[in-house]
Symmetry: C2
Subunit: 207 residues, 2 copies
């Protein structure tokens, strides 16, 4: 068992005195650590260690710890958004299958990146408050609302569309938390994610 230094993607570690793109490197280090130790286990010092940089270096790129986390979540939300849009690819317009696909990707993102997901949604007192985060979140929800509207035969996002979209969001959001914990998942018995999402989408979009 070699206990040599962990191999890092070259984008994280620096090679010389200057890093090249330390900002990006720190965001990636932050992302990695948030996944590894959870949002609360994350520390600036850890990120510096991982990036191979002194603990003072981040302050050339970020105001403080919070700004590092916000930047990391922002990048995560961009991934989330892109993945959701990609999930719609090739599915006929106006079909519930599109809503299901969005829900599936929502849950999968939460399972794939539970740290980022919790960093965005798990907090309460320490919740990251940043206008850009809020805006990004609205943008993502709008993707869902557009599809819900199409399924209901609406061209606008009516109050009813918004209500149904919110219900679906609530569902996949809660499911994301339950599925993140094996002990909770177990309580649902044996089931497949996709059929469950299809069933729920159908029920909520019906009428």
């Amino acid at each position: 068992m070699e206990n040599a230094e962990k191999v890092q993607p070259s984008s994280i570690r620096k090679s010389g005195y200057h890093h090249g793109d330390l900002r990006a490197g720190l965001i990636e280090a932050t992302r990695q650590l948030v996944e590894e130790k959870g949002p609360d286990g994350f520390s600036v010092s850890d990120a510096c260690r991982l990036a191979g940089v002194s603990t003072a270096a981040p302050y050339k790129h970020f105001k403080d710890k919070t700004e590092m986390l916000v930047a990391t979540v922002m990048q995560g939300m961009a991934r989330h958004r892109e993945n959701m849009l990609a999930a719609l690819d090739g599915i006929p317009e106006g079909t519930p299958a599109r809503v299901t696909a969005l829900g599936e990707e929502y849950v999968n993102f939460a399972l794939r990146e539970p740290g980022i997901f919790q960093l965005k949604f798990g907090g309460y007192t320490d919740r990251l408050e940043d206008p850009s985060l809020r805006e990004a979140g609205e943008g993502t929800f709008t993707i869902v609302l557009r599809e819900v509207a199409a399924c209901l035969g609406e061209t606008d996002i009516t109050p009813e569309v918004r209500r149904r979209g919110f219900v679906l969001w609530g569902f996949v959001h809660g499911l994301s938390f339950l599925l993140a914990d094996p002990k909770l998942t177990e309580m649902g018995g044996e089931f497949e994610l996709k059929p469950m999402l299809e069933d729920v989408s159908r029920r909520v979009l019906k009428d």
Copy 2:
């Protein structure tokens, strides 16, 4: 003056050298602080300060910080369970109204005690792992499953009952998180909680 602490407005603070029931006092202090500063903002030192006791005192009653938190969550879950059972009071057996009432109480608990709710469910890496917590959680979920079974005309908790119950749980669970944040709640537009829960229960229990 054996029951001096009962005379005081709060059972948290001690009156003499001996506290009376420091274990209970610390749990209450923990609960209060978890609500005030969030699960991550909580510290043993804070709880001691609030209880008016030295920082070493808790270790006469709890193994460590985690045990304090587990005890506090356990008590919260007992409240949760009792409230849910109370919510069923007077509602005719076998009706979806019972399921709705359980869901409403679930969400209300999360809104009333967001700190405890998150301490139980929000964690990931730092999630509290304790058999008793798991058992208590299963017990609470069983209350729901019993009602779902009744609505579906089943006497046992069949796989289908379990699946539907899980879906409903996912929904109220997600809703709890969304409603805990005014900015997220806003995205649902104008709506009333109870009708929304009634609508969703009906849709999920239908067939």
